[in-house]
Symmetry: C2
DNA sequence: GCTAGATAGTCTCACGTGCAACTATTTTGG
DNA sequence: CCAAAATAGTTGCACGTGAGACTATCTAGC
C-alpha cells in the first residue's frame, strides 16, 4: 500500500472531551458549527432514501408536504416558506412540481388574490400518511444510540440554541401577527 | 394589514416537549433531522460573517485552512477531503483558489507523484491565527445560551450520534491505515 | 380615492457543488 | 515484468438554490 498522507489517524482525538485552554489551534472535530454541518448533511443523506428514492421528492418538496400534512387546513406558500425557513423561490418551485404531480392543489384566496391556499390532494395525503411514519422510523434509528433521557436532553439543548438564534417564533411575535 | 395565511402561530408548539404518541402527524419542529438542518444552516450563516465577509473565504476554503492550520505538518488534499467530509472536487477547487491567493503552498511528494503535500504559507498561517480565535468567539456566542455542563452534554450527545453514523473514524480503522 | 409602499408569488441569473469521466501514477496479481 | 485495478487530483456538466428583479395585488396615508 502506498504510504500516503491521506491516511487518517483520528484515534488521538476525542470529540467528546472538552478541549484544554488556552487554545492555540482549532480542532474542527470539536468545533460545534462544523459538527452540526456534517451531522446535518449525513442525517439528511440517510433520510433522503425515504423521500427521494422511494417517492421521488426532494427536500423542499418534502417540506411542503410535511407542512401541509401537519396542518389540517390550507395555508399559503409564504407560510410554508417561513415555517420551514426555506427561501420563497425554492418553495415556489417545489409547489409547481407538486401541483404538476397532483400531490397538492391550490385555490385562490378570495380575500387576497395575491396568494393561494395550498392543501394536499387525496393522493398527496396518502403519500404523507405513508411517508411520515417511515421518516419517523429513520429518525428513531438515527437516535437509537441515545437513551430516552438523552433524547430529551438533545431536544432541549437544540431548543435552547434555536431559541437564542430566534429560530423559533416567540409567543409575542405569533401574537403580533394575529394567529391564522 | 392583510389577513394572510402566512401569519405564523407557533406558540402552541414547543419543540422541547416530547411529542405524544401514537403519532398521527409529523411536526417538523420536533423532527430532529429538520432541526439539525435548520440549525446548521443558521449557525453557518452566523459564522460566515467572519471568514466570508472579513476574509473572503468560503466554507470549503476555510475547511482547508482549518485542517492545515490544525496540523503542524503538510498533508494531502485527499486527507483534507476525508477529514472534513467534503467532496474531493470541492476541496480541489478550494485548493486552487488558495494557491492563487498565496495562502497555501504545495510540494510534490517524491514517494508518490500522484499527490501533493499541502501546507499554509506564512500569509496563510497569519490568516489562520487571526481567524480561528474569531470563530471560536462566535461559537462561544452561539453556545452562550448553554451552561458549561450543557455544552459538555451537547458535545457528548453529538459525539454519540456521530459515532453511530460512523462520522468518526474508529481506532481500529485508524490503525488499519497506518497512522500518518 | 389616489399614490406610495408593502406583500405574494414567479422568474431570470449566477454560482456552488456533486457526479462522473479523465489523466497520471502506483500497486497488485499472475 | 506486464496487465489490470486502485488511487490522487482535475475538469466538464448538470442541477438545485439564493439573490433579486418583476408583476399583480393589497394596505396606508394624505
Amino acid at each position: 500500500m502506498a504510504r500516503t498522507s491521506s491516511d487518517i489517524a483520528l484515534k488521538t482525538r476525542n470529540a467528546d472531551e472538552a478541549s484544554p485552554r488556552p487554545k492555540t489551534r482549532l480542532d474542527l472535530f470539536k468545533f460545534v458549527p462544523f459538527r452540526l454541518n456534517r451531522l446535518a448533511a449525513e442525517v439528511s443523506a440517510a433520510l433522503s432514501v425515504e423521500y427521494q428514492e422511494r417517492h421521488g421528492l426532494d427536500i423542499p418538496a418534502w417540506r411542503v408536504i410535511a407542512t401541509l400534512g401537519f396542518r389540517n387546513d390550507a395555508c399559503s406558500a409564504q407560510y410554508v416558506s417561513q415555517c420551514t425557513r426555506t427561501h420563497k423561490s425554492t418553495i415556489s418551485r417545489a409547489v409547481t412540481t407538486l401541483l404538476n404531480e397532483g400531490l397538492i392543489e391550490r385555490v385562490e384566496n378570495e380575500a387576497d388574490r395575491r396568494e393561494f391556499r395550498l392543501q394536499l390532494t387525496k393522493k398527496g395525503r396518502a403519500l404523507y400518511e405513508e411517508l411520515f411514519p417511515q421518516l419517523l422510523r429513520r429518525e428513531d434509528e438515527i437516535l437509537a444510540c441515545l437513551s430516552a433521557q438523552e433524547r430529551k436532553q438533545l431536544s432541549a439543548l437544540l431548543g435552547k440554541i434555536e431559541q437564542s438564534l430566534d429560530l423559533i417564533q416567540t409567543s409575542e411575535e405569533a401574537d403580533a401577527k394575529q394567529a391564522y
